[in-house]
């Protein structure tokens, strides 16, 4: 146990962090204990030699990586650049909306689907007398005199059609 306690202080001893009294205690132990002395010498060797080894250096390309990243981050944070960057997307959206609007216009213009005037006419076609003429139905209304078909027409069709 005593050895472990002494060994724990070795790096502090080597770096000159101990008081004179503490140093003396360790010196005394090292004179008597061969194993601790061996550990001390090995540790001093590793600790002192490693410290003076050169610090690692950054690779020369690192500045260019950083520059590249700075430019990208500047783009992200600049709203004008962001808009320019997204111009393609914006243009696509405008084209899509334009095509849809034109398609609706053409559809409503030539299909007569959305005009309220035409919509009411549809109802008229189905109900008015004129519609019968328009589709050539008035021909069938002209029932010959004394025809038995007259009774059938009177009962089968509305009055407007027959009286003509």
């Amino acid at each position: 146990m005593k050895h472990k306690k002494i060994q724990k202080k070795f790096l502090l001893y080597i770096d000159g962090d101990l008081s004179e009294t503490e140093k003396l205690l360790i010196d005394q132990h090292l004179d008597e204990c061969a194993e601790c002395k061996r550990h001390f010498e090995e540790l001093a060797n590793i600790w002192n030699e490693e410290r003076i080894l050169e610090s690692p250096l950054p690779s020369p390309a690192l500045w260019y990586d950083l520059k590249d990243r700075m430019e990208k981050e500047a783009e992200k944070s600049n709203p004008f650049r962001a808009i320019v960057g997204n111009a393609k997307l914006l243009l696509n959206s405008v084209i899509t909306v334009g095509v849809v609007v034109i398609a609706i216009f053409i559809g409503s213009r030539f299909g007569n689907l959305l005009s309220p005037q035409n919509a009411s006419q549809n109802v008229t076609y189905a109900q008015s007398e004129n519609s019968r003429d328009e589709f050539g139905m008035s021909y069938f209304d002209a029932v010959p005199p004394n025809s038995i078909a007259k009774d059938i027409f009177i009962t089968g069709l509305d009055k407007g059609g027959i009286q003509k």
Binding site: K9, L12, D17, E49, R51, S55, P56, R69, E73
Partner: protein
């Protein structure tokens, strides 16, 4: 260029100053980041984060310390956060236990029984031991041992008292002595 001029150019966002600041401080920042992270890629990523933070937040620099102290502070914070995040991610991804085991085996494997250790082996042994320390002890050791900063400067960078720095370094060196002796013992 005077430090006050550098700061002024940074605050003005003058284009030429970024390369200048990088050239002045890249070695220092990389030295800290490479020791505080565990791979070259991670270190280079951290260096980029540090400079972007320096350039972006220069207006929050109060100028009550040296610019280098502030840059050290940013470097340390970014590296600690990166390491912490990596630990959480690896823990969540269940590779954690495998990796922990692997790291220990790797560290032991790389110590050769002979007396003549290669430079890189020597660095690896000490770095591996430092990497196992708690974050604050590790930071204090790196700033003191490799950056050769005074206790006062370390206390400013870490935001702790002078006596805390002394205590962190004391405990760190005790821990490192135990670890390094144990590593050597395995092969003798």
């Amino acid at each position: 260029m005077e430090e006050t001029q550098i700061i002024e150019h940074l605050k003005n966002g003058d284009g030429f100053i970024y390369k200048y600041v990088y050239d002045q401080y890249a070695r220092m920042v990389y030295s800290v980041c490479s020791r505080m992270t565990s791979s070259k890629e991670e270190a280079e990523d951290a260096v980029q984060d540090v400079f972007i933070r320096v350039f972006d937040s220069i207006n929050s620099f109060r100028e009550d310390s040296k610019l280098s102290t502030w840059i050290y502070q940013i470097s340390v914070n970014i590296c600690i956060n990166k390491t912490r995040r990596k630990k959480v991610i690896s823990f969540l991804s269940l590779d954690f236990w495998e990796e922990e085991k692997g790291e220990k085996e790797m560290a032991v494997e790389n110590i050769t029984p002979g007396d003549d250790l290669e430079k890189s082996e020597l660095q690896k042994i000490v770095q591996d031991a430092i990497n196992t320390l708690p974050a604050k002890q590790k930071t204090a050791v790196i700033l003191s041992r490799y950056e050769e900063l005074s206790y006062k400067e370390i206390s400013k960078i870490m935001g702790v008292s002078l006596s805390s720095v002394e205590s962190l370094l004391f405990r760190a060196k005790e821990n490192l002595a135990k670890k390094l002796i144990r590593y050597k013992e395995i092969f003798q």
